[in-house]
């Protein structure tokens, strides 16, 4: 916790050497405000993680370190199957949504048919639709066509809202590439498919990977869509957390929450650092946030 809060303070001297400081230019209250902000953002999360290691049931006093609640979590067969279900959902969603989203991005940037505009709007709307709308309409679709609610229906719902994230991230990357290199490959005698596979895709990999891992994390954490499209069992972890919370706060939820946090962080960390590990200069954060802008 403290390492997080200390960061803003550490910046001041660094910047002073980079540019001559102007006192009126750097109001002190902003720095204090930023400190408080980060504290406010991370304190609840830190508490969840801390109390997941508490040896007693108390949610107020930390009475010693133990793995009791993780033990409870992993020794419960139904919670274990929920964890596996959540990972399955996220993995399948990641693979399918990343494939479809990447193709859609390529089509949107390179194709100029009269459908492109409509496809573009249809791709953007899920990003700004409240999840409950997507959840309700997915539930209605599945019940109307008589599809039994199960992991499959959850996955179908997750893929639908994940495609747009992938498309936006990959499209930003694609737009910055420009068609010149592809044209050069075509001039040198490559077929369209060869050009895509050997020229375009290698350039897109960092964005595709980052988008895929982002989708994994989003799907793994998703509650609302899963809540509306889940069957009886196994239910994904967030749905289990929801039912458990309604019966009151128990420390096992802290353990589940902390464990989910660890998995999400792993996915996001990979998304941020894989491009660099693959020998790219840009960071994953740049790829993810890069061109999205306003």
């Amino acid at each position: 916790m403290s390492t997080v809060a200390e960061r803003p303070a550490a910046i001041a001297p660094e910047r002073a050497s980079a540019r001559p400081p102007k006192d009126f230019d750097r109001p002190r209250f902003l720095r204090v405000f930023a400190w408080i902000f980060y504290l406010f953002m991370f304190a609840p999360i830190a508490l969840v993680v801390l109390f997941s290691f508490n040896s007693s049931r108390s949610l107020q006093n930390f009475e010693g370190f133990s793995f009791t609640w993780y033990d409870r979590f992993f020794s419960s067969e139904s919670l274990r199957s929920s964890l596996i279900a959540s990972i399955e959902i996220a993995a399948v969603t990641m693979v399918v949504a990343t494939t479809l989203g990447t193709m859609l991005a390529y089509g949107l940037v390179r194709a100029r048919t009269r459908w492109s505009g409509a496809a573009n709007v249809m791709m953007l709307i899920p990003l700004v639709t409240p999840e409950i709308v997507a959840g309700v309409s997915a539930l209605l679709l599945f019940t109307q066509i008589g599809l039994h609610l199960s992991l499959t229906t959850i996955i179908l719902g997750h893929i639908t809202f994940s495609i747009s994230y992938v498309t936006v991230v990959v499209r930003g990357r694609l737009a910055s590439l420009g068609p010149e290199v592809e044209n050069a490959a075509l001039d040198l005698g490559a077929t369209r498919l060869q050009t895509f596979r050997l020229v375009t895709l290698p350039e897109l990999w960092p964005a595709v990977l980052a988008a895929g891992l982002l989708v994994f994390a989003l799907s793994f954490d998703d509650f609302v869509l899963s809540f509306f499209t889940t069957g009886e069992s196994p239910q994904p972890l967030p749905v289990r957390i929801w039912s458990a919370i309604r019966f009151g706060v128990t420390p096992t939820i802290n353990a589940i929450g902390s464990f989910m946090l660890a998995i999400s962080l792993l996915a996001i960390g990979l998304a941020l650092f894989l491009p660099r590990l693959l020998g790219r200069r840009e960071s994953g954060l740049g790829v993810l946030l890069g061109r999205e802008g306003a």
């Binding site: 100029r112 709308v133 706060v249």
Partner: protein, 288 residues
């Protein structure tokens, strides 16, 4: 096809090739996103049989019921809470975005990553952490030895929404500030603008697109939220999302739930269109 021999012919074949890529994703979104919205609309005019199954039909009274004195306050409350959330997110988010963009130095990326990071902790877990902190016998009241009632108040629900969606406000404002040429601010000050005047006449107008984007991106999910009101509030704080959720899982009145959802979507559509148009404009400007 002919591109290998004659690059001039490539246009047609490139179009066909690229359109082929467009197809699967577009069809998927059509089938699993647009068609369900159509079904939603159809069912919202339906009714239920004695067993609670949905039947199609023409029952516009579902929409009239939504404005019944019993439910209308819930709709108004949702908009009110969401607006309050937007205002608070702006008041907190703008200074933070400003701080990171102007004074973040080489750690800008780290600071922005730290803003995004909590977003990847499950929303339920984050909200429920506040229950543990603010509960009647929670950490705060225990540590301070006080007896303050935080939960089951509008403040708690709005606070939960702010905590949940703040990142959506900070990111677009940060992007706008980061794009802005800092010498503009210096110029404003060189021209003897006070700090406040420089902000009002130079910085804020330059980042207004970002503010607008952030406001919409917070408003949309906040209106539809039901987790915050359920966990941090009580029936007196319920929002339209809670009402919809009840129709599907407790009251088993799906047509009424569908009507509520459709109404919410129609209301939010105005803001979506506004946002998408301004985003399209921004991306055209960025390309140019």
């Amino acid at each position: 096809m002919g591109s290998r021999l004659d690059p001039g012919e490539g246009g047609v074949s490139e179009q066909r090739f690229a359109s082929g890529f467009l197809f699967p994703g577009a069809v998927w979104l059509l089938l699993f996103f647009l068609v369900p919205l159509g079904i939603l609309l159809a069912i919202s005019f339906g009714t239920t049989d004695d067993l609670g199954n949905s039947l199609y039909g023409w029952h516009p009274e579902n929409y009239r019921d939504a404005f019944d004195p019993l439910f209308a306050p819930v709709l108004l409350r949702s908009v009110g809470y969401a607006l309050a959330t937007v205002v608070l997110c702006l008041a907190i988010g703008y200074p933070i975005a400003y701080y990171i963009a102007r004074f973040g130095g080489r750690r800008k990326n780290v600071l922005i990553a730290l803003v995004v990071l909590p977003f990847f902790v499950n929303y339920l877990v984050r909200t429920y952490a506040w229950v543990a902190i603010l509960g009647d016998e929670g950490i705060f009241n225990g540590a301070m030895n006080t007896d303050i009632r935080f939960l089951n108040t509008p403040y708690a629900v709005i606070g939960g929404l702010v905590y949940g969606y703040l990142a959506f406000m900070i990111l677009p404002i940060y992007a706008a500030l980061d794009r802005m040429d800092p010498s503009l601010i210096e110029a404003g000050k060189d021209l003897y603008g006070s700090r406040w005047h420089t902000f009002r006449h130079v910085t804020f107008p330059h980042t207004f697109q970002g503010v607008l984007a952030g406001a919409v991106l917070v408003f949309l999910p906040a209106v539809g939220d039901f987790v915050s009101a359920q966990l941090l509030g009580g029936p007196d704080e319920y929002m339209v999302g809670n009402l919809i959720q009840q129709q599907f899982f407790a009251a088993e009145n799906w047509p009424f739930g569908a009507a509520l959802t459709t109404l919410m979507m129609l209301f939010l559509l105005i803001f979506m269109v506004m946002y998408l148009r301004s985003a399209a404009k921004a991306s055209r400007e960025a390309m140019a």
